[in-house]
């Protein structure tokens, strides 16, 4: 079985020690998929903390209705920037660009992605896009304040620096497209001999489905954002009601991309969870095909539900009906995944180590996110809940409770493999408590506030919502402490951690057959795959 686990015996050089260049150039000019994955990781975690700090500042502002620390214009910029960074620079590329880049080629037995230079270019688009967005905060007539959705006509009329911010997002979209093209081609062309579609690990399936959504949906937002820029500079009029344009069409185009984008965010995280759960349950995944095909189902159906962001926009009734119907149908494949993950625990041999703890938390929090989605998917309830804190709470359960926790679980799961260092498992488990408790106070509180009628994007609130805001803010502070502890633990491990074994958790997919960290070429020889993945106990396999 472990013919390739040669880390202990043969002398090898890991990808971190290989390469012709030294210092920073070894990183920013590297076309190695593993280095690029780590580049993404470093940028994303830094940007994540910028957005977390902004989030904490917003929670501080909401502590009082009479004392305002920040003027409304700054608060509006806060939630815009928080949204843009979190959505476009963390959760959207997150699991796909970091773990997809690092592990997708290894998991299918390839030496690299199909287009390594394009892969590096994609990272450059990402970093330049991020820098442009950040530059938009400090140039022009003030930071963008239209929310991350940039709804027209407000984004056309406001005096702030929308065009530059929007251009930055356009570049980030380009990065996403190039990554998607790369992953699809890699999965089609680079699989090792015997790695048939049904022998692929489920993380690869999820990343593959995601890549298709990236390729097909992102151009729509690209052209939409270009039109917003053209509207601001030339006044072409296609979105300007003063010239006969229809602002609701902007919303259609925006959500044609941005709803599938939610699935771009969640699918790779689901894929990562699907790796973590069988590894720590020490048994095969339950319902391999159901999980694989439901990824495709989510990607497909998820592209047809964008209208549920627009139930109160005065959309035609036929559209309201169809979009609500599709919204309920897209919940089915998600439900299938949750059931299969739960069933995978049955008759396993479960160890609740930190990655598993976060993976199970993912299932719990994502379930709340999905179920609140059903509640607001019902048309008449949506009329009440739309644009309130309920929505804010819901999408944080999905994006942070889902993608975020999935990202954390994947990071804990693969950290020893990526860096060859082991973190302190006890500290990682301790950091879970403040994150979990704070999370539910913050976003659970938001759900309640929303049902009571607290609209989103208010720099202050009416007095009847003060208690709810106080609880949410305290939860936010508790969670922030947990996040700092979580990442501090990993940073310490990076420099002072024990050396990690090649397979610390007893995983069976290909990446655990390479030494930690993997060598530059991943494999000395390309493996030949004879069997399906996730066979932990061959004697009991059906």
């Amino acid at each position: 079985m472990n013919t390739l686990a040669h880390g202990e015996a043969s002398s090898y050089r890991s990808f971190l020690e290989s390469g012709d260049r030294k210092g920073i150039l070894a990183w920013i000019l590297s076309t190695d998929h593993k280095r690029i994955g780590i580049l993404y990781l470093a940028c994303m975690v830094s940007l994540f903390f910028v957005a977390v700090i902004i989030g904490v500042l917003m929670r501080i502002e909401q502590l009082s209705t009479s004392h305002h620390i920040f003027p409304p214009a700054i608060y509006n910029a806060f939630f815009t920037v928080h949204g843009v960074i979190m959505i476009f620079m963390f959760v959207l590329p997150g699991a796909s660009a970091v773990f997809g880049n690092f592990f997708l080629p290894i998991m299918i037995g390839a030496r690299d992605v199909s287009f390594p230079r394009l892969n590096l270019m994609s990272w450059y688009f990402f970093i330049v896009g991020a820098l442009v967005v950040i530059a938009s905060l400090f140039t022009g007539d003030g930071p963008p304040d239209a929310g991350w959705t940039f709804y027209v006509p407000f984004s056309l009329r406001t005096g702030t620096n929308i065009p530059l911010g929007v251009f930055g997002v356009f570049l980030l979209g380009f990065s996403s497209i190039l990554t998607g093209i790369n992953f699809i081609t890699t999965v089609h062309r680079m699989r090792a001999p015997g790695m048939t579609w049904h022998h692929m690990p489920l993380f690869v399936w999820a990343t593959y489905a995601t890549a298709w959504v990236q390729v097909l949906a992102t151009p729509i937002i690209g052209v939409t954002l270009l039109l917003v820029i053209a509207e601001r500079i030339f006044g072409i009029g296609v979105f300007d009601p003063a010239k006969g344009g229809d602002p609701v069409l902007y919303q259609h185009l925006f959500w044609i991309y941005s709803h599938p984008a939610v699935y771009i965010m969640i699918l790779p995280a689901m894929g990562a969870i699907t790796e973590v759960i069988p590894t720590f349950a020490h048994r095969t995944i339950f319902g391999y095909r159901a999980i694989a095909y439901s990824s495709i189902g989510i990607a497909g159906l998820g592209s047809l539900v964008w209208g549920h962001h627009m139930f109160t926009s005065g959309m035609g009734n036929a559209a309201n009906l169809m979009f609500s119907l599709f919204t309920f149908l897209v919940a089915v494949p998600s439900a299938i995944k949750v059931f299969n993950w739960t069933a995978t625990l049955y008759k396993g041999s479960i160890e609740v180590k930190p990655p598993m703890l976060f993976a199970l938390t993912f299932v719990f929090l994502f379930s709340i996110g999905g179920l609140t989605g059903l509640i607001q998917g019902a048309l008449n309830v949506n009329v009440h809940l739309h644009d309130t804190y309920w929505i804010v709470g819901h999408f944080h359960y999905v994006m942070f409770g889902g993608t975020g926790m999935g990202f954390f679980a994947a990071l804990l799961h693969w950290f020893p493999k990526m860096f060859g260092k082991m973190y302190n498992e006890r500290v990682a488990a301790i950091s879970w408590f403040p994150i979990f408790i704070g999370f539910n106070m913050l976003y659970g509180g938001m759900l309640v506030l929303g049902y009571l009628g607290m609209p989103r994007r208010y720099y202050t609130h009416l007095p009847q919502y003060s208690t709810g805001h106080l609880i949410a803010s305290i939860g936010g502070f508790i969670m922030a402490i947990g996040l700092v502890l979580f990442f501090a633990n990993l940073v310490v491990a990076l420099f002072k951690g024990k050396k990690a074994e090649s397979n610390p958790w007893g995983g069976v997919t290909l990446e655990w057959h390479t030494p930690s960290p993997p060598p530059l070429e991943n494999f000395e020889e390309i493996p030949v795959i004879k069997d399906r993945p996730y066979i932990f106990n061959p004697e009991t396999a059906q």
Partner: protein, 206 residues
């Protein structure tokens, strides 16, 4: 999972993969323009008469001339690929050169057309356009965005074709290794296909 070492493959180019990647890129281009086509079809259904009148002002002759130019340039690129497959380097070079000339002619026509309209005050926020009904403002907004974005693609195509031409000249693209030429060809044909749709939507809408 059972694995066993296989014989190591020598690293070599994956032509099918490169072409597949190019097709994926073309898909994104189709959807990029698809967003504009979506806007066009919706606004046309909202303002049918204004769109009809808007199309009347456009110069059909230039539109059709540009269609013929692009179709022919598509032919020359296709011939260039067949020629390189057959090892006819001279014909390949000639065809690519002709394609670039056609592309420049296309842009020249576009320049003549746009500047005539701009002289007449028909451009976004232009004095004449502001006097027109809303539907025509939208029509011209879309006209400038669609042909403008398409023009940028033609410009990018010219640069790509020039680089390819140089590669063929220096034998970096040969009868056994012509994937780059093929991919540039695919891109150029797509630019042509988009224009095939723009012609009836904008010029023949009247």
């Amino acid at each position: 999972m059972s694995t066993a070492p296989a014989h190591a493959h020598p690293v070599h180019k994956d032509y099918q993969g490169a072409k597949f990647g190019m097709w994926l890129f073309l898909f994104t281009e189709i959807l990029l323009f698809g967003g504009l086509f979506l806007l066009y079809s919706i606004y046309r259904s909202m303002y049918p008469i204004d769109f009809h009148n808007g199309g009347k002002h456009l110069n059909v002759i230039i539109g059709v001339a540009n269609t013929v130019i692009l179709l022919t340039s598509s032919l020359t690129v296709a011939v260039a690929i067949t020629a390189i497959q057959k090892g006819n380097k001279k014909l390949t070079l000639a065809c690519l050169g002709v394609t670039i000339v056609f592309a420049l002619m296309f842009l020249a026509n576009k320049y003549i057309e746009w500047s005539a309209e701009i002289r007449h005050g028909i451009y976004p926020n232009g004095p004449e356009l502001l006097k027109m009904p809303n539907g025509e403002k939208i029509f011209y907004g879309l006209y400038y965005s669609m042909t403008g974005l398409h023009g940028l693609h033609v410009l990018a195509g010219i640069i790509a074709l020039l680089i390819t031409l140089d590669f063929v000249r220096r034998d970096k693209i040969t009868g056994t290794d012509f994937n780059k030429l093929e991919n540039v060809g695919l891109y150029w044909h797509l630019v042509d296909v988009i224009w095939i749709f723009l012609l009836p939507l904008l010029y023949l809408a009247a």
